[in-house]
């Protein structure tokens, strides 16, 4: 899997709470199972008119944010259906990090399977970063975010951090623990 270490770009602010995975990728695209190319369906019903023309007022359609790799959004991001298509679409669109006051659990897990860094931050801090107009830097190794001449720290579980820094997926992580697993198996044979 792709490694995630340093990310720097302007941030895309999407200030709504409780964005569920059906807003991220509407159900009509679930039948498609290729893992790539989902970026074009990201936030589809918010991004496009029924006839497919982009809605000017939606933030992703503002050319200013075309090169953004960081999404800053509201609490409980990714709630609802467990569809991993949501993570696929965000990644494919170009987002490497998502900052929010909180994430829904299954979505949060899915991020780490798809080289996306989800960062939970205090609501005030997150709103502060959303307002930043210049380039924001995220350094996973030092667990810091730099914006508007400020540097703040964020929390992440060490094992999750390692997953992203080294580009490991679960299979690769498990293989590292192969001897522990076989010890476990020996000790618990029926």
């Amino acid at each position: 899997m792709e490694r995630i270490g340093k990310i720097s770009s302007i941030v895309t602010p999407l200030d709504r709470p409780n964005i569920d995975t059906d807003q991220i990728v509407p159900k009509q695209f679930l039948k498609l199972v290729q893992r790539t190319g989902f970026g074009k369906f990201l936030f589809y019903d918010w991004r496009f008119e029924p006839n497919g023309t982009p809605k000017k007022e939606f933030v992703l359609n503002d050319p200013k944010y075309t090169s953004s790799h960081i999404l800053v959004t509201g609490e409980n991001f990714g709630c609802g259906s467990s569809r991993e298509h949501a993570a696929w679409a965000l990644k494919d669109y170009g987002f490497d990090a998502i900052i929010a006051p909180s994430f829904a659990d299954i979505f949060y897990n899915n991020c780490f399977k798809n080289a996306i860094l989800p960062i939970s931050l205090d609501k005030k801090l997150s709103a502060d970063i959303a307002k930043s107009n210049s380039v924001v830097g995220i350094d996973l190794k030092s667990q810091t975010i730099t914006y508007d001449d400020k540097t703040i720290h964020f929390e992440i579980e060490p094992s999750r951090k390692k997953t992203l820094l080294e580009g490991l997926d679960d299979i690769a992580i498990t293989l590292q623990y192969e001897s522990d697993i076989s010890d476990f198996e020996k000790a618990h044979r029926l």
């Binding site: 409780n18 569920d20 059906d22 807003q23 509407p26 159900k27 679930l30 039948k31 498609l32 199972v33 290729q34 893992r35 019903d45 609490e75 409980n76 709630c79 609802g80 259906s81 467990s82 569809r83 991993e84 298509h85 993570a87 909180s102 829904a104 659990d105 299954i106 979505f107 897990n109 899915n110 399977k113 798809n114 094992s159 997926d169 679960d170 299979i171 498990t174 623990y177 697993i181 476990f184 000790a187 618990h188």
Partner: protein, 422 residues
């Protein structure tokens, strides 16, 4: 330890776990359906390219497959996914594949209890967020993304962070016309859609002992709407009898210790509860039915894993008997076994005489997939579990979540109606 902690401890070979511990748990059962299945197949394809062996599953007898979201096949892509699923189960030797048009089939979370596929004390994961439902049987049950499920299918284990547990105690029996749905809506309204984020929600108290197994399943089903990792209820004789009727034997249930600890305890008096709805566009947007009665409706939908179990249909039929619906009303039994029982007991005739359309089991309109999705500005009262924008169709349609009694009473008047006022 409480029941969630004890199940995770046993599954990971530990004598004791506490919240926030990371455990590497053996999984007892796993499920995929016609959306997560093709997703898992794609993950397998990717792993194969990376040189990882995917030609054998951990234990095909512990894996089962449902066809529920886009069946009977809604159009050609869904049809192709169904073919893909059939090839997959044949290739890997999975026998428990519930196919539409071939006897018993239905919504995955309904089959899990109707067919006793998941048992007390087990660890059960599925490629669907409402996998939490099965926790009503005393199981640790939770939903996972495609990659996690693919991993479980290959290795039969996965790691969990032991969740802290929120305990919801219900004192007394639910009043007439108040259903389990009203209780869970009340809770979600109180704690919010992320009120139980990564926590277990455990239900207990005399109100739960009084409740049928099917009603309990409504509670655990919607723990997902509060962001819970899992929902769980200590299994009792009602659960054991329910499972015995379905041929289950040889399992070892787990109960929490007397000194079990909970992160927080919430207490509710059953006599205080009343019929509720969740207004658009969030399951936490709760109001008493009487506060919104009179809202004009276009449709009533009685379906889904939350609201189309046998008892749900029975409750709706009590209201619909000898009456006529004023708006489009659909009843979609959650599994063939429920459909058959409803037919044998005269429920289907009651529905048809009332003017209702009865559909074959499917997730269908609940997830806005097919068979009755909503048009722009249409307003629906529904026994389902989510009402986010566009969930049941057009992004500007509106869904009110309610119990089967409220959905049926509202079908009769064409407006949101408290069954007590009918």
């Amino acid at each position: 330890m409480n029941i969630t902690e004890k199940i995770l401890a046993r599954a990971s070979g530990k004598t004791r776990v506490v919240p926030d511990d990371i455990v590497f748990a053996n999984v007892d059962k796993a499920m995929i359906h016609d959306v997560s299945g093709p997703g898992v197949i794609k993950v397998f394809d990717k792993l194969k390219k990376e040189g990882i062996q995917v030609d054998k599953l951990w234990d095909p007898s512990k894996i089962w497959v449902a066809e529920d979201h886009f069946v009977p096949s809604a159009e050609k892509i869904s049809a192709e996914n169904i073919v893909k699923l059939s090839k997959f189960t044949k290739q890997y030797g999975i026998e428990k594949h519930f196919k539409y048009g071939m006897g018993q089939y239905g919504i995955c979370h309904t089959l899990s209890h109707e067919e006793a596929l998941v048992l007390p004390g087990e660890v059960y994961v599925g490629g669907d967020s409402h996998t939490n439902t099965s926790g009503a049987l005393g199981t640790f049950a939770c939903g996972l993304g495609h990659t996690d499920v693919a991993y479980v299918l290959l290795y039969g284990k996965i790691w969990f962070k032991v969740p802290e547990t929120l305990y919801f105690k219900l004192n007394g029996k639910l009043p007439q016309n108040v259903m389990a749905k009203d209780y869970i809506l009340k809770i979600i309204g109180d704690i919010g859609t992320d009120g139980a984020a990564y926590a277990a929600m455990q239900f207990g108290g005399t109100g739960i002992s009084e409740m049928s197994v099917e009603s309990r399943l409504t509670l655990t089903n919607m723990t997902t709407e509060a962001g819970a990792k899992n929902g769980i209820i200590e299994p009792d004789q009602k659960v054991f009898d329910y499972l015995a009727q379905r041929g289950a034997k040889n399992y070892s249930p787990i109960h929490g210790d007397r000194d079990a600890e909970f992160a927080k305890i919430y207490e509710y008096e059953a006599s205080d509860l009343e019929p509720l709805v969740a207004k658009p566009y969030s399951p936490e947007n709760i109001a008493p039915v009487r506060d919104v009665s009179g809202v004009d409706l276009d449709k009533s939908y009685i379906g889904s894993c939350t609201g189309a179990k046998y008892e749900d249909l029975e409750a709706a039929a009590r209201i619909l008997k000898s009456r006529k619906v004023k708006i489009r009303t659909e009843v979609v039994p959650a599994a063939i076994s429920i459909y058959k029982k409803a037919m044998e007991n005269g429920l289907i005739s009651i529905f048809l005489d009332a003017g209702v359309t009865v559909g074959p089991p499917t997730c269908g309109a609940c997830c806005g997939a097919h068979m009755g999705v909503l048009a722009k500005d249409e307003v629906c009262i529904s026994t389902t579990n989510r009402n986010f924008p566009g969930r049941m169709g057009h992004i500007e349609s509106k869904t009110y979540l309610a119990s089967p009694l409220v959905a049926a009473a509202s079908a009769i008047t064409g407006k949101i109606t408290d069954p007590r006022d009918l």
